[in-house]
Symmetry: D2
Subunit: 144 residues, 4 copies
Amino acid sequence: VVEDEIEGKIADQTVLTEYRERLLEAAREAATAAYCPHSKFRVGAAVLAGRRLFIGCNIENDSYGLTICAERVAIFSAISSGCRRIEAIAVACLGVADRVASMPLPCGACRQVMAQFANGDLPVIVDGFGEIPLAALLPKPFRL
Amino acid sequence: VVEDEIEGKIADQTVLTEYRERLLEAAREAATAAYCPHSKFRVGAAVLAGRRLFIGCNIENDSYGLTICAERVAIFSAISSGCRRIEAIAVACLGVADRVASMPLPCGACRQVMAQFANGDLPVIVDGFGEIPLAALLPKPFRL
Amino acid sequence: VVEDEIEGKIADQTVLTEYRERLLEAAREAATAAYCPHSKFRVGAAVLAGRRLFIGCNIENDSYGLTICAERVAIFSAISSGCRRIEAIAVACLGVADRVASMPLPCGACRQVMAQFANGDLPVIVDGFGEIPLAALLPKPFRL
Amino acid sequence: VVEDEIEGKIADQTVLTEYRERLLEAAREAATAAYCPHSKFRVGAAVLAGRRLFIGCNIENDSYGLTICAERVAIFSAISSGCRRIEAIAVACLGVADRVASMPLPCGACRQVMAQFANGDLPVIVDGFGEIPLAALLPKPFRL
């Protein structure tokens, strides 16, 4: 049984590795559609859920508080398609290297939305930064 | 030229009529994916943009303020796909007739997001209510 | 009885007129505290509730979607102090005349929050624009 | 110089200890004003900034996404009063012990807003849980 479990994990890992680069590429591609007249900060995200891939970009609003991040757009797309768990998420920014000190990680709001649909071991793959589990970004998440 | 314009408008109108029922059906179908553990209020939306159809449902969060409405999920999906104008939006609620006095119209936040990507003549089609232009839901919208 | 009602309305009107200029002044003063590193757009708001005055300014966040408008900060302050109805709200922008075509009115999200704590006759007083009832800014508000 | 620094830190610590219980009491008191018709979940928060105390409660909206948490209301009140740094924040829930497995910690959105106005050593004091620095709740915060 243990071996089967290990094998299952290896298989999952292989699937994830296979998807990791595809997710990052999808995130980079998604960023090109960003609607960011105010920040000029183009972000893309890609979510793996149910072996399908969902994308999103950041979408700003003249009322800044109605802006939405790329990560949440991708997650919302997955949930709207009937998924209830996300298995991995990738994020990429375009042409931001010269504007920020380090590659930005997801904001607290996005981390909270991730926590609604994933456990702490969710792989968060950040272009130019690496992979980090959700639990390392949002320890002790708020839950009702 | 005037005739061409009129013809164009009639053609658009026909396209819209053709799409109206499809939009409502898509909105009703989208509502079945709603993630609403707190409100139990299932909403679906469908957006027509670039002759393509985009859908969304409401997605709640244990931190209520991170909840998103169906309308915005559908709009975000359209924008993420590269669209910059939405041409019509439909909204439908499931099994809500016995819980609310009248069919709910989009909230102020969704109206504001619609206004970012449409003019006041955007047709907002509400299941069980009818069609109303955005300008009648959000007069004098905030813009920067 | 009718006369009493009229007298009551006149009295209320007098109170409101008396407060109108004070509200606008409070809104202008509140705008000086605006935290707006991204938009540089300084907004202040003042709310009359329970004969008390509550103020707020816009407060931005590096994650734009976590930005809050001045109007909502003022309303939240009133509600946190135990008020459940707001009686009037004023909004003012500093040094915005040269940046926008017309004086901006509250965004859809703020209109919706106003509607939670006021009827359609809520006076919305906009510096440089005039007074407009909430119903003219958010007809047919969403309610559960 | 080192001794002065240490003395300064001890003094700050004493001030903080002195304020800790006052902050928690203020947070509990603030929770009584909570407007939570949907969740029935009453939360209060108190912020120490510039040696002044600011309070807030959670305020819900029929459009769930326009709900705001107690923590943010308290922070917004501080910023609107001209503060730019918060020095400590306390949170308390009323009558929630029997409804949740463990005392809820601030949501990701509130953590992000805290990070805008504090460093990682911000003391987050949670009633029935204890004190935890912000960095332990939101490691590697998003910043532009």
